[in-house]
């Protein structure tokens, strides 16, 4: 073995005045960083294994720990960043594609942070959500252009199936396999309690979770894992996954180590084999092909369930969305390039795709220009971090938002971005039974319910401030937004004025 060029990225700092040698950190770190050394009668650490997941820091009863970024440094270089150099060291040793997880950590513009929200002053009074009704309920699905009544005033139009959401937020696709049983259970329980939906992702639906079916969106992806008629029947809607924001253009790869007995049963693949989702759906090479799948799924569920088509935000997304709207989809979900993942080639995650804000604005505009905006609902995701992001997304034209990373953070995720290693110390992105156990769904679902409830309160307050009392009145209301520090072109794409105008 030759020397290892890679030095620890983090240092475990233990305050020896505080450490009581309880060994909690040792028991809780699945990366085996901490050890009790009997000769020294004290805890020692192996910094090189630390991924900065903060589990030990959180559980240490005496606050004796902190993890710091090492200040050991390479010679400064504005062109060759430390990460560029260490990535080369890694590849020079392994010869492999670099893997990463969660959303890209690179510094790209976050347009949400360059958009400001309006508030009423004097002429149109703001509304106090504590005293007046404020509607956050929203419906997703094709909206009929005309409604016909019989002579008694009863609606006779055959309406299309809709998803009813108590608040315009849903938990987006995360497969059982990429996340744990307890993480899935937490999401399912919370979605049911909140009156919203969670999404199975491409890994099928564990038999224990069929009871949450009315609040479940079942996904059909290129690997078709776990897809069968009961599965399609179980959900409230079906989502065809064409792409994912974190890795547009490529498929998925769940390593065999994560295909436990239960995962293999749910996915309908042999235990221990890698689950590889192909990059394309092998039966979809055109909009017509997609239309066939959309109608096949509708047909097999008696036209009772809306069909969602999920795509990654990429170039020409407006034209792509227009095609999808015309192929019979009821809802289009668009996933921006900052979206999370359980594993993706880091180069793709960090360099492919476009920001969701721009994709959303252009899709909404394109569909309106073509007069087909009412034929589909738009759901956007890919790093929605707060209720303010939700409000801005709706004002840019979204019907609802998908959240996943935010939901995982509510479950304890500390964004250490090592989900692909399968040893998530928070019991989320792992199938190791002792680690999965760390996420008690009773606690997890409560956190998720609290998060979405809190966001809903904030959404009501911000809407009230604008003098708006329903999500419907905010949708696509770009006059409620102003840009700061954006170029003419950016403002044009977003369809918003600059602050001060």
């Amino acid at each position: 073995m030759s020397i290892n060029f890679l030095q620890p990225e983090y240092e475990v700092v233990r305050n020896m005045d505080r450490c009581i040698t309880c060994r909690v950190c040792e028991r809780q770190c699945a990366n085996e960083v901490h050890h009790y050394n009997a000769d020294l009668d004290r805890m020692v650490s192996d910094d090189s294994k630390c991924v900065d997941c903060q589990r030990c820091v959180t559980l240490c009863p005496t606050n004796a720990l902190k993890i710091v970024k090492t200040n050991n440094c390479f010679k400064e270089n504005a062109n060759w960043h430390t990460s560029d150099i260490t990535d080369i060291y890694r590849q020079a040793t392994t010869g492999g594609v670099l893997l990463g997880s969660m959303g890209t950590p690179k510094e790209y513009p976050v347009y949400w942070d360059k958009l400001l929200i309006n508030a009423s002053q004097v002429t149109n009074p703001s509304i106090d959500p504590l005293r007046e009704p404020m509607e956050t309920r929203t419906f997703l699905g094709k909206k009929d252009a005309t409604i016909h009544y019989d002579k008694d005033g009863n609606i006779i139009t055959k309406t299309t199936p809709q998803l009813e959401l108590s608040t315009p937020i849903m938990f987006s696709a995360m497969s059982y396999g990429s996340i744990s049983y307890n993480a899935h259970k937490s999401l399912a329980m919370a979605a049911t309690k909140l009156g919203i939906y969670y999404n199975t992702g491409e890994g099928g639906l564990h038999e224990d979770f069929y009871v949450y079916g009315p609040n479940t969106i079942v996904q059909v992806a290129s690997g078709r894992f776990g897809v069968h008629s009961d599965y399609l029947e179980a959900g409230a809607a079906i989502e065809i996954k064409m792409g994912q924001g974190a890795k547009p253009g490529i498929g998925g790869h769940l390593p065999g180590a994560k295909i436990t007995e239960a995962v293999s049963k749910t996915r309908m693949i042999p235990q221990g084999t890698d689950a590889i989702s192909p990059a394309p759906h092998h039966d979809i090479y055109s909009i017509e092909d997609l239309r066939q799948l959309v109608y096949m799924l509708k047909e097999s569920t008696n036209y009772k369930k809306p069909v969602i088509v999920k795509i990654a935000a990429v170039h020409n997304v407006g034209a792509i969305a227009s095609g999808i709207a015309r192929c019979g989809a009821d809802i289009i979900a668009i996933d921006g390039f900052r979206g999370g993942t359980g594993a993706a080639p880091a180069r793709i995650r960090d360099n492919v795709g476009i920001p969701i804000e721009l994709a959303l604005a252009s899709v909404d505009r394109r569909l309106r220009e073509e007069g087909i905006r009412n034929q589909v609902s738009l759901v956007v995701g890919g790093s929605i971090r707060s209720s303010a992001d939700v409000i801005k997304a709706i004002a840019l034209g979204a019907d609802a938002c998908y959240i996943a990373t935010s939901a995982l953070i509510a479950l304890g995720c500390h964004l250490c971005r090592t989900c692909h290693l399968g040893k998530c110390n928070w019991g989320i992105a792992t199938q190791v039974p002792e680690l999965v156990k760390r996420l008690n769904p009773a606690i997890g679902s409560e956190h998720l319910v609290n998060l979405v409830t809190a966001w809903t309160h904030e959404i009501k307050e911000m809407m009230g401030g604008m003098g708006i009392n329903s999500i419907e009145a905010l949708r696509g209301n770009r006059l409620m937004l102003r840009g700061v520090g954006l170029t003419e072109k950016e403002l044009e794409i977003l369809g918003v004025k600059h602050a001060g105008e």
Partner: protein, 142 residues
């Protein structure tokens, strides 16, 4: 009465409950001052298994056999809490044999039994339950 219940499915064997118990019963107001460089003698003990772990502490049974068995009258029920009068305990181990949960334990230093007496004021969660990270110990009315 609210009692301590154990949810073995969620116990991580992190042993935090033992340290909080030892701290709670130390009479000190700082965990480091209470526990640094000491071998702790908690009233709660975590049993570790291959697949399952659980914390064992006094159940404060409604009909406690330990109280009936105690030869010196050291164990008694006070407001539903099983208490030990250490001045009466003669270290005969009868209670250890009687308790079906195995929660009484000798404290070698003191030469008498020790047991959980629910450390916090009634109605408030005792330290073991309050600080269990995964709700594997729950203090509630059932």
């Amino acid at each position: 009465m609210k009692r301590v219940y154990v949810e073995e499915d969620w116990c991580l064997a992190c042993h935090l409950c033992e340290y909080w118990c030892a701290f709670s019963n130390s009479g000190k107001d700082n965990m480091v001052a209470a526990l640094k460089n000491k071998t702790i003698k908690p009233m709660i003990q975590v049993e570790e298994g291959d697949k399952i772990n659980f914390a064992v502490s006094c159940r404060h049974c409604e009909d406690p056999i330990c109280v009936k068995s105690c030869i010196s009258g050291a164990l008694s029920i006070e407001d539903g809490v099983i208490k030990i009068d250490k001045s009466k305990c003669v270290d005969c181990y009868t209670c250890i044999m009687a308790c079906p949960y195995g929660v009484l334990m000798p404290n070698e230093d003191e030469g008498i039994m020790q047991k959980c007496e629910l450390c916090t004021p009634r109605g408030t969660a005792p330290y073991c339950a309050a600080h269990c990270p995964n709700q594997a110990i729950i203090y509630e009315e059932r």
